[in-house]
Amino acid sequence: MSKKYDTPMLDELEKGAFPSFVTEIKRAAAHSDMSNDLLGHTETCYKERVTHWKHGGIVGVRGYGGGVIGRYSDMPDKFPGVAHFHTVRLNSPSGFYYKADALVELCDLWDKYGSGLTNIHGSTGDLVFLGTRTENLEPFFAETSSRGWDLGGSGSALRTPSCCLGKSRCEWANIDTMAITNDITQHYQDEMHRPAFPYKFKFKVAGCACDCIASIARADMSIIGTWKGNIRVNQAEVANYAKTMNIQAEIIDMCPTGCMKLDGKELRIDNANCNRCMHCIAKMTKALRPGTEQGATLLLGSKAPIVTGALMSWVIVPFIKMEPPYEEFYELIDKIWEWWDENGKNRERIGELIERLSFPRFLKEVGLEPSPAMVKEPRRDPFFFWAEEDIER
């Protein structure tokens, strides 16, 4: 297809060192009317400084309440290619592993049923297919589901869980992130496809505190691998590092809890005071390894600033074994969701609800023991509280 629109404002976004979505849309426009009209539509939005997208309405295929995000242009006569421009989310596999031929096949299907534009992966994790018409939703779903794919989450539902690649490639993984993510996905199919929550809920699973999936800032529940007991130290390797590294400056002085010291050539760790931040282990990979009693810390509450400001997750369970069938974990999740369902307002995330009703009340009603590890953020420990019955008068 030849160029249909002049786009001086969009063209500005092709300049500079970074990859440009404008360049990609132009490439797609060479063989897609939808992408061509998308350029014209977007340029108009920029020029008039107002969005011409309408959203909402249609959300899925038959039987599903999510997975499709409805978008319509309010200038369908001018830009018929984007009169409908719905997004389809497909559930990404744990750890984001694909065979190349599967990706090629999906892209071919999207050239056939949609704009040809994709976003792999969206911030939520899913494979995001941008731009299709309502009548193409069912056929695209039929083609993909017959090849083993399923829609991801959207709306007031469980969103597609995601994780770091964990034990498949990383020696620091304290939990099997991929197995856990897959289990959560299968366990909560109903919660994902039939929205029943006050608002969205996300799980992200990281194998250790390096948190390569950024779960602490992006998931209502962050599951982060950790260990109990002592960091394993190989003193011979410590001595080797001493030849090339200033251990005092780069490791010991940067330990957030000040729990390490050098004793001659030997590294000593006061493990009771270590908060398992991973700094020393990530720097001295050959000398230090996590302890052997492995599990996860569960954190709750993070979200981006949509209705109110951004929140980070904070600890609600300092240590839990994360092994199949994850009974204790699922029992807790069900209790948390029940509490949210009872008390949450429409569009209120779990973290906001806890802020509104108070953390002590959350702990009490969900049945969790307060603990000093429940640090909301450095220097704000919300765990000191007394209930009426604790006070002797």
């Binding site: 909402g56 309405g57 249609i58 959300v59 899925g60 038959r62 039987g63 599903y64 309440g65 999510g66 995000i69 409805g70 959207s154 709306g155 007031s156 539902a157 039939r194 929205p195 029943a196 929550f197 006050p198 608002y199 369902d341 429409n346 569009r347």
Partner: protein, 71 residues
């Protein structure tokens, strides 16, 4: 209660609130369960049948709702 009965109750509830107040899935579960003394899971199963059949659909307007599909 028979599932077909529950389905009728749910449909009537959604129909009555059309144009007045959009209902969320949890609104329906709470209301039908409280009014008729049936378990939420039972209401959920009936609602699921209705959605699977396309008699009711999920919509999204700043939140997910259950509605009668447009003609």
């Amino acid at each position: 209660m028979e599932k077909e009965e529950v389905k009728k109750i749910i449909y009537a509830l959604v129909e009555a609130s059309t144009g007045k107040k959009k209902l969320k899935q949890s609104d329906i579960l709470k209301k039908v369960s409280a009014d008729h003394g049936i378990e939420k899971d039972e209401v959920k199963a009936a609602l699921r049948d209705l959605v699977d059949a396309g008699t009711l659909i999920f919509t999204y307007f700043g939140g997910s709702f259950i509605e009668i599909p447009p003609k």
